[in-house]
């Protein structure tokens, strides 16, 4: 690590002000940022810890919407997001207990790792990402690998998920990291079906619109028989080719639909 200062504000305003300083960076659970610092791959002058800000903590459910504070750890979501079981289950299966006790939803969405789980939930449920300055629809938020609509110094303060009628997340784990080799989050609300895929694409999390169209007519695994995504734009690495990932997108989507149907 290079040397840096740390501040631990108790209000959002203080945090935003501190983040306005040159080379300041937000620190949430640190599960991504701290390893990066240890490897000297980042050189912030100041880390602004978000986890002491009460407004960024907690899970609340209100009239069909569940809202999660930006600095809420995965373990809390797993325990308290019972009104959106697919989301609670997703959170409860991220990493290991240490990661779940520290890592946060805001950190995950800000980082937008192409293999992370939460981006699939946000996109698949049509969530709204609220920051200190605006509200961003998930459809506009994710902009490619490790890239989001967030501006420099902008803080994810909460994420609101409309609770769907049916939903499921199915994750096929990369054997080493146990991030998603392919993860699919499916929701159904009335005639509206969303299918969000993480882990697979070179462009990060994406909606599989063909499958969505087919499933809106018939929300059953068979509905996507014969549909496939192209392997050309898929990640190809030690753990699987693009063609393999493309194949898994189909398999995991079917399994997610089956799971959503209970």
């Amino acid at each position: 690590m290079y040397a840096f200062d740390v501040v631990r504000p108790s209000s959002l305003d203080e945090a935003v002000a501190a983040l306005g300083e040159e080379d300041a960076q937000a620190l949430s659970g640190g599960q991504t940022l701290i390893p990066t610092l240890k490897q000297r791959l980042a050189m912030p002058s100041k880390l602004v810890s978000l986890t002491g800000i009460a407004d960024l903590q907690g899970v609340s459910a209100d009239g069909g919407t569940i809202t999660i504070g930006g600095a809420t750890p995965h373990a809390t979501v797993a325990a308290e997001a019972g009104s959106f079981p697919a989301l609670a289950q997703l959170a409860g299966n991220i990493g290991d207990p240490a990661v779940r006790n520290r890592g946060t939803i805001g950190g995950s969405l800000a980082n937008n790792d192409p293999s992370a789980c939460y981006p699939a939930a946000a996109l698949g449920a049509g969530a709204t990402i609220t920051t200190n300055s605006r509200a961003i629809a998930a459809d506009d938020y994710f902009q490619g690998l490790f890239t989001t609509a967030l501006d420099e110094g902008e803080v994810v303060t909460s994420v609101s998920f409309p609770v769907p009628e049916k939903a499921a997340y199915v994750k096929f784990e990369q054997p080493a990291s146990r991030f998603a080799l392919v993860g699919v989050f499916v929701t159904k609300s009335g005639g509206d079906v969303r299918v969000a895929v993480t882990g697979a694409s070179n462009d990060g999390v994406f909606r599989w619109s063909e499958a969505e169209a087919a499933l809106s007519g018939n929300f059953a695994p068979e509905a996507i028989d014969g549909l496939s995504v192209s392997g050309d734009d898929m990640i190809s690495d030690l753990h699987g080719s693009g063609a393999y990932r493309a194949h898994l997108v189909g398999v995991m989507t079917k399994r997610a639909v089956a799971a959503a149907n209970g």
């Binding site: 040397a3 490897q39 054997p175 080493a176 080799l181 030690l238 753990h239 398999v251």
Partner: protein
């Protein structure tokens, strides 16, 4: 009733009290006053010419004490290889130099170029970033077969090519050719034994501490064999006499072979401490471990089996390319040859066996022994091949094995070794009783009803442990003896310290060794402790690897204890005014046969140290004996393993449902510890077969350089094991009749798992001859989908 103490009992591991409560003393826990820290600047290219290393700016950075480069090691020895292999033309293997810090060229990602010694680690890292290195990158040599093509880039410019040796061994050519010419069936298999990273929980650490007052150097290091390091580093690298060099390997958090070898960092801290007159400490990061710890396995093999019309094995030949990496690590050359070729007969009476091995230099990390070392590679190819033969011939894989088992002992194989004892049908019988073969069809049908493919795989193994008879390994090229040593020091009040050459880094010696001594003397185990891991305290022993600790060092301890008993009987005879021949030792009492006259152990030991009433004219006071033990042969643990798996054909994911291991380890001193050793070995074998893959790209960049990409087995990857070691054919040539159990699990398990997956796939109509390890989901899926 199981015994509750002594040989055959399972007392809990006494060392676990400190390990589980945070009181262990690992090398990184040791800090010496005035200590400095070293950070190694390592090559990020696989192959290149070093044009210059400019340390000027870095040297002026805060906290820097001194910066070393390859130039500082001109005239200092390189890291030696401990085993000279002679090739098939009678020529010595090629032995390229291995400087402590790179000179002229870098040869793998991770090759150390410079070392910054500073007041703190962060300052050392800061300064390392200011070193300007000018390297002209060269094409990387990664693939072994292309490395041997004419015109390939050379890893070592002073060698004629990238071939370390071309070794051939076994039956004569005519016998092998004849077996294949007359065969009714020949089965052929091409396979790769995947490269592994050992990944002990504790990364390597080295702390060099030079004491100007007496010109002594102490090296604290994470080693499995402190005396070996003292000899290699003292004699070959730094030219330090043994009496001025102390090597301490305190608690070591796992080794698995990778902590046998003498590493550059150990020589560096010892050297640098003398230069700057301050202690120098290095603690490996996990990232450094991936690119500097010796890797394991990495063989590419073609193997063929000839069978006659009755399915008897008549001939076997195998041709292997073994990756040495960029430099020869300490025992690298012996692994694919004498630890691999000599095991190619396996459990079978195949009359003609021939082994070819080409060892190849590449721009990768050095490859050396890893749990099993050569024997897993031998077992894997043979047991995969036999399974493939059974499938091709449409015969039962267990029956085919049984038909070809060696049944008479001693048995001299065509590949030099002589198995002293064994009973392969007995372990196979036990295995069959553990796995409910009859019920398998129903279990397969149940899996099929869920869309899953179920498979059952078996294999046998034989290994050569208790390494090794010195005169034999000397003829084979070893540059060391492989005896071990123990000193039994009986204290005045009867408690005992046993100083042993073996090193415990997870094996449980501190519990097991006292069980043996206490049993021999009839005293409480709590009165016996072992001392290990410090060259200034223990006799010259060769350390722990090759499942040798109990078989070799334990035998030395038995011999030394026998000497103690002999002397104590003399003292007792004097105290009891009886003839020595009449003295019996039982339950810690010396008595005169046929009388009620006796004297307790503690009275005899006290007399030895307070020799007021003592036969001083016949024997010396004191009670301390040393024995060196050189085994007459290897030991040959053997067994039969089975694995049941389920394959998800849609994703290729393999789930291990069941694993059974029936082993013959000879006599067992502590069944609980033996079971634990088997469990650990099985986890590593399952890891190799299913998960672990150390991969380089064509530029020699390590693709699996962290746990994000290198998959270690975790608790939920392995099943509840069924383990049996009730079949005992005691080793015929060591006093305890023990064979060793440390490596068996890792040797015996990969073929059973792969055989099981292929059984599942072939039974489902897929015609698949082999899938290379690890059987990751994507590989299995690709095999299913052509």
């Amino acid at each position: 009733m199981p015994k509750d103490h002594g040989i055959g009992a399972s007392p809990k591991r006494r060392e676990d009290v400190r390990f589980l409560t945070g009181a262990g003393n690992y090398t990184d826990d040791i800090n010496v006053y005035g200590q400095t820290y070293v950070h190694f600047l390592r090559s990020d290219v696989a192959h290149g010419t070093i044009n210059s290393v400019d340390t000027g700016a870095a040297a002026g950075m805060p906290g820097v004490v001194r910066i070393f480069t390859g130039a500082d090691f001109e005239g200092v020895g390189g890291l030696p290889c401990g085993w000279q292999v002679t090739d098939k033309h009678g020529e010595a293997m090629k032995e390229p130099g291995h400087p402590v810090l790179a000179q002229g060229k870098v040869r793998h990602v991770g090759d150390p170029i410079a070392a910054v010694v500073a007041e703190s680690l962060e300052e050392a890292r800061n300064a390392a970033e200011a070193i300007e290195v000018d390297i002209t990158e060269l094409p990387a040599v990664v693939d072994m077969k292309s490395a041997l093509e004419a015109g390939s880039t050379k890893v070592h410019d002073d060698l004629s090519d990238n071939l370390c040796y071309d070794w051939q061994f076994g039956s004569d050519q005519a016998a092998v050719d004849e077996a294949f010419a007359n065969a009714a069936h020949v089965t052929t298999l091409d396979l790769r034994n995947n490269r592994l990273v050992a990944n002990p929980m504790e990364p390597r650490v080295a702390l060099g501490d030079y004491n100007r007052a007496n010109d002594e150097s102490t090296l604290y290091t994470t080693s499995q064999n402190p005396h070996v390091i003292r000899l290699l580093m003292g004699a070959f690298v730094l030219g330090l006499p043994e009496h001025k060099l102390r090597v301490v390997a305190p608690d070591v958090g796992g080794g698995f072979g990778t902590k046998i070898f003498h590493y550059a960092e150990e020589a560096f801290v010892t050297f640098a401490s003398r230069q700057i007159n301050r202690p120098v400490k290095w603690t490996s990061t996990r990232s450094e471990a991936f690119m500097s710890d010796a890797h394991g396995r990495d063989h590419v093999t073609t193997i063929e089996l000839a069978l006659d019309a009755d399915n008897n094995f008549t001939g076997l030949r195998t041709d292997t390319h073994a990756n040495m990496g960029a430099y020869l690590s300490t025992f690298a050359s012996s692994v694919p040859t004498w630890l691999h070729g000599t095991l190619m007969a396996g459990n079978y009476k195949t009359p003609a066996v021939q082994v070819n091995v080409k060892a190849v230099f590449t721009n990768t990390v050095a490859v050396d022994a890893y749990r099993g070392a050569g024997r897993p590679e031998a077992t894997f190819q043979l047991e995969r091949l036999v399974d493939k033969a059974a499938r091709e011939l449409g015969v039962d894989p267990i029956a085919l094995r049984r038909q070809n088992f060696i049944t008479e002992f001693p048995y001299a194989t065509p590949v030099a070794v002589e198995y002293d004892t064994g009973n392969y049908h007995a372990t196979m019988d036990t295995l069959e009783s553990m796995i409910d073969r009859e019920g398998f069809a129903a279990r397969r049908a149940e899996s099929a009803s869920r869309g899953k493919l179920r498979g059952l795989g078996v294999n046998c193994y034989i290994e050569a442990c208790g390494i090794a008879p010195s005169n034999l390994v000397g003829q084979l090229g070893a540059r060391a003896g492989l005896y071990d040593a123990a000193t039994v020091r009986v204290n005045a009040t009867g408690s005992i310290s046993v100083m042993v050459g073996a090193h415990s880094h997870g094996q449980g010696h501190e519990t097991v060794f006292p069980q043996v001594v206490a049993e021999m003397l009839g005293i409480d185990e709590g009165m016996v402790d072992i001392v290990h891991g410090d060259s200034s305290k223990i006799p010259f022993g060769m350390g722990t690897y090759g499942s040798r600790s109990l078989a070799v060092c334990g035998s030395a301890m038995v011999r030394a204890t026998e000497k103690i008993i002999n002397k104590a009987k003399k003292i007792a005879a004097h105290l009891l005014e009886a003839s020595e021949a009449d003295i019996e030792l039982k339950d810690g009492q010396f008595s005169v046969a046929g009388t009620d006259k006796s004297v307790a152990w503690g009275d005899v030991t006290l007399a030895a140290y307070v020799p007021h009433n003592y036969p001083l004219e016949d024997i010396e006071p004191g009670l301390e004996e040393t024995a060196f033990y050189d085994p007459a042969n290897f030991t040959y643990p053997s067994g039969a393993y089975a694995c049941e798996v389920e394959v998800d054909p849609e994703t290729g994911k393999v789930t291990v449902l069941d694993f059974a291991a029936a082993d013959d380890f000879g006599n067992v001193v502590n069944p609980m510890i033996v079971e634990g050793q088997v469990h650990g070995g099985l986890a590593q074998g399952i890891g190799q077969a299913l998960l672990e893959n150390c991969a380089y790209d064509e530029n020699g960049q390590l693709l699996s350089a962290s746990y994000m990409d290198y998959a270690m087995p975790r608790a939920d990857d392995v099943p509840y094991y069924k383990v049996d070691h009730s079949n005992v054919t005691p080793c015929t040539h060591n006093p305890l009749g023990v064979k060793g159990c440390g490596e068996a699990g890792a040797i015996g398990s990969p073929p059973a798992l792969v055989n099981a997956v292929l059984d599942a796939l072939n039974a489902a109509g897929h015609d698949i001859g082999h899938i290379d390890m690890p059987l990751s989901p994507s590989r299995v899926w690709s095999a299913i989908n052509g």
